[in-house]
């Protein structure tokens, strides 16, 4: 609804403003993100200096996998940064102030903060990806379409997870590591899921759907993704989304606010 878009817009603008209040920290964070990206890239290149192919993919394809991961990762962090602050709201009781307003509490807790730095990093990622598209051969229109739709699919899975974290925060207030686990798991998607031996590969593709999130888009683009897998991917993401939302509402019902 229009109202929710306006509210999100306002929240995003406010987060941008608040961000500029602390500029020194911003420099460190941005530098950190760039350094992390570059060092890992350097490491991948180091390996490829000595070997021609990794699990059947050439250099450019591997780079594409890496960039796709980064695109999804940055988008997720940009949109859902508020989830990291959520625990504070519960502990301090500020969450009550959110519940008393006619805005969906899940919406507010999930999308309440938009991270400027991740937003900034998106642009070069997109540019780089388009560049790599030209280096990787055989890109079809259908491929690109599937690529984009699977990226959106990945975002749906990511939001399901973040909603789960929010629900956990209400129930236990002990969620510090849950988000980091998510990051560790999805971090495994920096390389094609084929790198992992079975049964890990199955686990990482369908149980903890990292493979679906980060590898499927590229595979679809390269035309190596089967139709079955494609359908399964969509089914899993929708199921996870519905389940996590269900869990959120259940947790909310059980909520006892921090006493005065």
């Amino acid at each position: 609804m229009k109202k929710y878009f306006h509210v999100w817009q306002h929240l995003a603008l406010a987060s941008f403003q608040m961000f500029f209040v602390s500029r020194v920290g911003a420099v460190f964070f941005l530098t950190g993100k760039i350094v992390r990206f570059s060092l890992y890239f350097f490491f991948l290149m180091l390996i490829f200096g000595k070997t021609k192919a990794l699990v059947g993919y050439n250099v450019w394809e591997i780079i594409l996998f890496y960039l796709t991961f980064n695109l999804i990762d940055s988008t997720v962090q940009m949109l859902f940064r508020e989830v990291y602050r959520f625990r504070q709201y519960i502990v301090s009781g500020s969450f009550d102030m959110m519940l008393v307003k006619p805005v969906n509490a899940l919406f507010r807790s999930l999308l309440g903060w938009t991270d400027v730095l991740d937003f900034i990093t998106l642009v070069p990622f997109l540019a780089f990806i388009v560049f790599v598209f030209s280096k990787v051969g055989g890109i079809s229109f259908v491929g690109v379409f599937l690529y984009l739709s699977l990226i959106i699919n990945a975002l749906i899975i990511a939001s399901s997870f973040h909603i789960l974290v929010l629900a956990l925060a209400i129930l236990t207030t002990e969620i510090d590591h849950a988000i980091m686990i998510y990051r560790d798991f999805t971090g495994m998607g920096r390389v094609p899921i084929d790198v992992y031996q079975e049964p890990w590969r199955f686990f990482l593709t369908f149980v903890v759907p990292v493979g679906i999130m980060t590898s499927f888009p590229v595979k679809a683009l390269l035309g190596t993704l089967s139709a079955t897998h494609l359908v399964v991917a969509y089914i899993i993401s929708i199921t996870l989304l519905l389940a996590s939302i269900r869990l959120w509402y259940w947790a909310l019902a059980r909520y006892t606010s921090a006493s005065s």
Binding site: S22, V24, G25, A26, V27, F28, F29, T31, G32, V35, R36, L39, Y40, F43, L46, I47, K50, T51, A53, L54, V55, T172, E174, I175, D176, H177, A178, M180, I181, D184, F185, G187, M188, R190, V191, D194, V195, Y196, Q197, W200
Partner: protein
């Protein structure tokens, strides 16, 4: 002495209060290594050796990261930063104990817990992955390994104190730590053995203190270093430890002066 033991046991209790967190934290340790393990395994599918590492030695390296990382890189030194920025340090300064001494004893508890659990994790991974391991030939190696671990842990503790001291002068403690951690992750050998980097870059890496956190102890264990390099390594790590201790001590003193002067 008793008060240090008491504070250590309190620290122990604190871990279990946050039970879910604790379990998740251990799981993360395993995950962080799994990716690298599989990646290198895949790399070695098509080759026997790479960068002078055989498949066996590379995979041993990666698995050892869990253990060494747990011992060296786990630290509560960042709690110091917390105490500074929240002002809690005031309370501690009023008590008849040496604050850094207490921090150190908590650190020891931390390491002991970590060593215990990482051994368990190591065993689990060993059973599950059936990795080919390269084990040291002599007891002397293990002895040197222990020393290297000790040096690495001390180095990291000093780093932690120095970074925490930033809290005396600025509210931004997390941001520099974030950047530091990323740099350390790569330059310490947590992602890949540092000697795969050739040329002048490789030399720089041996001169920096970070390599002595993870890479050096493991290299000692794997018996990859000729005696001359061993000597060099220990010498450099000792040197860095000295330098960092001096810096951290100076910063701590200076910081305390600023802290108490402001009466924040």
């Amino acid at each position: 002495m008793k008060k240090y033991i008491t504070s250590a046991s309190i620290a122990f209790g604190e871990y279990f209060v946050y039970r879910l967190n604790f379990i998740l934290w251990r799981v993360r340790n395993i995950l962080s290594v799994l990716m690298m393990y599989f990646l290198w395994h895949a790399v070695y599918l098509t080759r026997i050796d790479m960068f002078t590492y055989t498949r066996e030695s590379m995979l041993t390296y990666i698995l050892l990261i869990i253990f060494v990382g747990s011992v060296v890189l786990s630290t509560r030194a960042y709690k110091i930063a917390e105490d500074i920025t929240t002002g809690n340090l005031k309370t501690f300064l009023l008590q008849p104990i040496n604050y850094l001494g207490v921090a150190l004893s908590k650190e020891v508890t931390d390491k002991l817990i970590n060593i215990t659990f990482s051994l368990v994790e190591f065993a689990i991974l060993f059973i599950v992955l059936h990795p080919p391991l390269v084990l040291p030939q002599s007891m002397g190696t293990l002895f040197l390994f222990a020393i290297a671990l000790f040096l690495g842990a001390s180095l990291y503790f000093e780093f932690g104190v120095i970074l925490s001291c930033i809290g005396f002068w600025s509210r931004e403690v997390w941001a520099p730590r974030f950047l530091f951690y990323i740099i350390v992750t790569f330059l310490s050998g947590m992602y890949f053995p540092l000697d795969i980097v050739e040329g002048p870059l490789g030399v720089v890496l041996t001169l920096l203190p970070f390599g002595y956190l993870i890479y050096f102890p493991i290299a000692v264990f794997l018996e990859r270093l000729p005696p001359s390099m061993l000597l060099n390594g220990f010498f450099l790590s000792l040197l860095w430890l000295l330098v960092l201790s001096l810096v951290s001590h100076k910063m701590w003193q200076k910081g305390l002066r600023t802290f108490t002067a402001e009466g924040s």
